[in-house]
Symmetry: C2
Subunit: 339 residues, 2 copies
């Protein structure tokens, strides 16, 4: 554990370059990189709470250097953390970047990575207020930590679902997984249809505005973001809320591009929608008597539907699937590609 | 950037094990691991500010797995971040751990790492409120992010040094560097003398109480922690404060163990004290007219001296060294081992 003095000058140059790039996002009452710690102002209201989320991305586990654009990795690294802030109904305050870069790395990699990171930071107006850079023997490692704030009374936890709630999602499911398949294989899909699938995979948009809006609705009970897919994520809500759930296949929101992609590759879209993951839309449960009104207002506000995909039941921990009213088991036809 | 589903079950088991171990430190009004974000209460007073610091440790850069005990790595990983909080005069609120572990890693490594981490967290009463665990191809990567708070009026920055200030440190210099040399080579030093040097290297104590106390003294102007050594660290204060500094070799606080170690290895202690780094005591500048009183009170409070090592001068950016009143240049005798 000797101190990392090698490349120290490069580190300082690198940091000051990063500083300049992100400086316009730094609020006036905050102190960013340059002292022992970053200093952030108090939260605006005493009723606000501080949200913290962090994610570590490692080369050859989360991305393959040769197969991913550094710019996409930069964008997505921040976007997925912002999605966690959205999932609590919060607003991002600042983020912190730790970066380990091998000495053999192509110089442009870091520049492109920062370009993508900056694009996301700029788009969602999140200042970079600190971090750490270091060398590494072989692999790139990226840690991002995002701080956010939310009103204590409006924070939406996974544990608040109630029997009779309607289960909703704020966006299409399965597009990102199809995008990942597209990169890996060949497809006869038109480039017009490929674009939204690839975009969903490389540049997921955190549903921050949607999260804040939903958090303001008291009839919205539990909320989280869809990172591993409904099939893995919804059980977290069911377990934390000690209830069950059912999801109807025919209600899963599938994009036209996904439907055409699945047709062209002769696969069932349902497993992609349920288990593909990395959708980064929001999954929430809403009191049954309020869901019509909330859906109408959501659509008016965001110009697209709030999709109802199922409901919360009283059977603790049990997630059941239905297709046009008939119960489907994981061994059934519609689950052909499962597992 | 596909999601890391491999070892997912292990990850959950690992996280729940970690949770149990650290649970007693979690404050009642905070929400730790288990939702999309951790939730922290508002800062106690509107005059408080949030401090954030983060550090990324990478195997083969910051530590060699075969040569460092996992427990020591765990302890130090948190301790050095707490030292940054101390440097601002802050108190730690919570920390967040991101951990990338190769699948081939010995099972006990993570357990021992967590043991050391827990020891430090317990000693300084800092709750673990979240993080991320993932696999890695080959190397261990550890990111720690610490949040702290400090009163806005008492935060000590690097930029506040004034001409005429006395430069002080809160502990011995060079012990950690000697400890590192001890691990790497052989020594005839008694084990009684080796112990404090090794401890300084493996288990540095963040000067949190000292930091808060010094921050409460308005005559303390600039402050930072000594991570790279006075020779590298003091210039940060000089640059930020647009002033110069001089340091007297004979005033550098050297432990008896260090003096005996240097005698036994026939080396000059000064380069170790100035450039060894990783001392993790605090470096501050104090108004000349107040330094006697503050030193007396510091000694009464902490049972050891506040060491005066030099003063702030008006020559911007210039750090000069003196030995018994005579100016010493980096090419001189006392710098024999420099560079």
């Amino acid at each position: 554990m000797s101190s990392p003095k090698i490349n120290k000058m490069n580190e300082f140059e690198f940091i000051s370059g990063v500083l300049r790039k992100f400086a316009h996002l730094t609020p006036k009452n905050a102190l960013g990189i340059g002292d022992d710690c970053a200093v952030l102002p108090s939260l605006q209201n005493s009723g606000d709470r501080l949200l913290v989320t962090t994610d570590l991305l490692v080369e050859d586990i989360h991305f393959i250097r040769a197969k991913s654009k550094a710019q996409d990795i930069g964008y997505k690294a921040l976007a997925v953390n912002l999605s966690d802030i959205a999932a609590m109904g919060g607003r991002p305050l600042a983020f912190f970047l730790s970066l380990a870069l091998p000495k053999t790395l192509d110089k442009n990699w870091a520049a492109h990575f920062l370009k993508g990171l900056h694009q996301c930071a700029h788009e969602f107006h999140v200042p970079l207020l600190g971090g750490d850079t270091t060398g590494s023997k072989k692999s790139i490692a990226i840690n991002i930590c995002v701080l956010g704030s939310a009103n204590a009374k409006r924070i939406k936890l996974r544990s608040q679902a109630k029997v009779g709630d309607v289960v909703c999602v704020t966006g299409f499911l399965g597009d990102s997984a199809a995008g990942l398949q597209l990169i890996r294989g060949k497809s006869s899909l038109s480039s017009r249809d490929q674009a939204p699938l690839l975009r969903a995979h490389f540049k997921p948009k955190p549903h921050l505005e949607e999260g804040v809006w939903l958090a303001n609705q008291s009839a919205v009970h539990a909320m989280m973001d869809v990172s591993d897919g409904i099939h893995s994520d919804l059980p977290h809500i069911l377990k934390a809320s000690n209830c069950g759930g059912k999801v109807s296949f025919e209600k899963l929101p599938l994009s036209g591009a996904l439907v055409r992609y699945c047709k062209s590759t002769k696969q069932n879209a349902i497993p992609l929608a349920l288990m593909g993951g990395e959708d980064y839309c929001l999954l929430c449960t809403i009191k049954g008597s309020n869901v019509d009104q909330i859906s109408r207002e959501f659509e008016r506000r965001f110009g697209r539907p709030l999709y109802r995909i199922g409901e919360i039941t009283s059977r603790p921990g049990k997630l059941e699937y239905f297709h046009n009213g008939e119960k489907v088991t994981p061994s059934g036809h519609s689950f052909r590609h499962f597992g």
